[in-house]
């Protein structure tokens, strides 16, 4: 455990550096809850859509919907989502409001995924909002506050990165299995053509770059292998703050590319990654990825 603790990016921070990093992280947390409230407001458009549905296949957190009037359940979920996230945006330093924001988001996402498909667009927000409930209170003379605050904040970054790595691990694992079976696999030049065509046939939709990416396999190939590489190595970035901005840029570009080809929007993740990594509190002056690389390569 001591070895892992030593890997945390703020392990060697001086008191002044810790203070500066916490100041940045506190601002990011404040913006996090404003962003969450904004996203909650954008769901208002779905409110009537869900009222129009009449059959539900509830995930475990919302089985209670089966025991109340369906429309009443929907109204409760959407109303509490707005109130809970609004209160956290107003008072992000209060644990009670952060807990409320997590609970209402947890219920909303469980509801949103209770119609036949467990999509993952909200998962990262649910996980990070859970961790943020545990942010420490600031008490006079509490010397461990800065370290504890940054531990939770780092946890938020790490859990988001872990999800990408897990996704990359499955692609590598199944890639080798399909390669052994002689099938088109994840490292094959046609991999992206197959994924895009398959997804668009499932939805009957078209996208801006669908024909181009299905036909031009030599464009899709490096993009697809590059995406696997970005995903697989994501978790290591948690320990390398100099790569935070670069990785965030790469993964956001990947999501934009997926939207333009497969039509899948991961807008919530784009917002969250921009919040957590563009101005990461662990990036200190001179701590750039170029410097890290030249040090490792002895330039």
């Amino acid at each position: 455990m001591r070895f892992i603790l030593r890997l945390l990016p703020f392990h060697n921070f001086s008191e002044i550096m810790l203070k500066e990093a916490v100041l940045k992280a506190e601002y990011i947390v404040r913006f996090y809850y404003i962003a969450l409230f904004f996203l909650a407001v954008t769901t208002i458009g779905d409110w009537s859509y869900y009222l129009d549905k009449s059959a539900i296949d509830p995930l475990w957190p919302i089985v209670w919907v089966n025991f109340v009037d369906y429309n009443f359940g929907v109204n409760i979920i959407f109303t509490t989502l707005l109130i809970g996230t609004f209160s956290a945006a107003l008072f992000p330093k209060m644990r009670l409001t952060r807990l409320a924001a997590f609970l209402v988001l947890f219920e909303f996402v469980a509801f949103d995924k209770s119609f036949g498909q467990l999509a993952h667009n909200w998962h990262a927000f649910v996980l990070t909002s859970f961790l943020l409930v545990f942010l420490p209170y600031k008490r006079e003379g509490d010397k461990s506050y800065n370290h504890n605050f940054l531990s939770i904040f780092w946890g938020c970054q790490a859990i988001v990165l872990l999800a990408y790595t897990m996704s990359g691990v499955w692609k590598i694992y199944n890639g080798f299995i399909q390669m052994a079976l002689g099938e088109i696999h994840n490292f094959h030049p046609q991999a992206m053509s197959y994924q895009v065509a398959d997804r668009l046939l499932q939805t009957g939709r078209t996208t801006l770059l669908d024909s181009f990416i299905i036909e031009q396999i030599w464009v899709g190939w490096p993009l697809y292998v590059g995406a696997i590489f970005i995903e697989l190595l994501a978790f290591s970035v948690a320990f390398l703050p100099s790569f935070h901005r670069l990785w965030a840029f790469a993964v956001i570009s990947m999501h934009i590319c997926i939207k333009l080809t497969m039509g899948i929007g991961f807008e919530q993740n784009i917002l969250l990654i921009a919040l957590l990594f563009f101005n990461s509190p662990f990036i200190v002056s001179g701590n750039r990825w170029q410097n890290w690389l030249s040090k490792k390569l002895n330039f």
Binding site: F106, A110, H123, L131, S144, A158, A163, K171, E183
Partner: protein
């Protein structure tokens, strides 16, 4: 001496999330929200053995030629719903393994949410190469069963 209990809690949570996700993924078990294996687009669909819904009549009108749900832009605004697609897959799989109770439950959800008017449709099995189907529209079908929604019989 630094207070490390927050760091240990965070590392423990991350480890737990990883283990639960990967184990459920390897066992092919249902995901326990909010845990997830994150096995998204993990393999390449070389040849699909899918299920589909072909609409034969809707709201008193014969659909000629019958159309796949995903191609029914002029019939339902939800033709492109990936949720409907997944529901149809689970509905078809349940029928194929003769789990009639589960199939009927999923059918009821599908019809209540996506077939808002009286309709007649077939549940079919589709076999295709995704790139070939995307380019040529070709796929093989095998009919499983015909259903009527709210007594639409034509």
């Amino acid at each position: 001496m630094k207070d490390t209990k927050y760091s240990i809690f965070v590392i423990g949570f991350i480890l737990l999330y990883f283990l639960v996700g990967m184990i459920t993924g390897f066992l092919g078990a249902n995901q326990i929200f909010p845990f997830s294996a994150w096995d998204l687009f993990e393999d390449i669909p070389n040849r699909r053995n899918d299920y589909g819904v072909i609409i034969m009549s809707y709201n008193g009108k014969i659909v000629s030629p019958p159309k796949l749900f995903q191609d029914s832009k002029d019939i339902t605004p939800e033709y492109g719903s990936i949720i409907a697609y997944r529901l149809i897959q689970n509905f078809g799989k349940a029928y194929d393994r003769s789990d009639i109770q589960e199939a009927e439950r999923l059918r009821a959800i599908f019809e209540a949410n996506y077939m808002k008017a009286p309709a007649r449709y077939s549940l079919v099995k589709l076999v295709y190469d995704p790139v070939e189907r995307w380019k040529t529209g070709k796929y093989e079908t095998a009919y499983i069963r015909v259903f009527s929604v709210r007594s639409e019989a034509l």
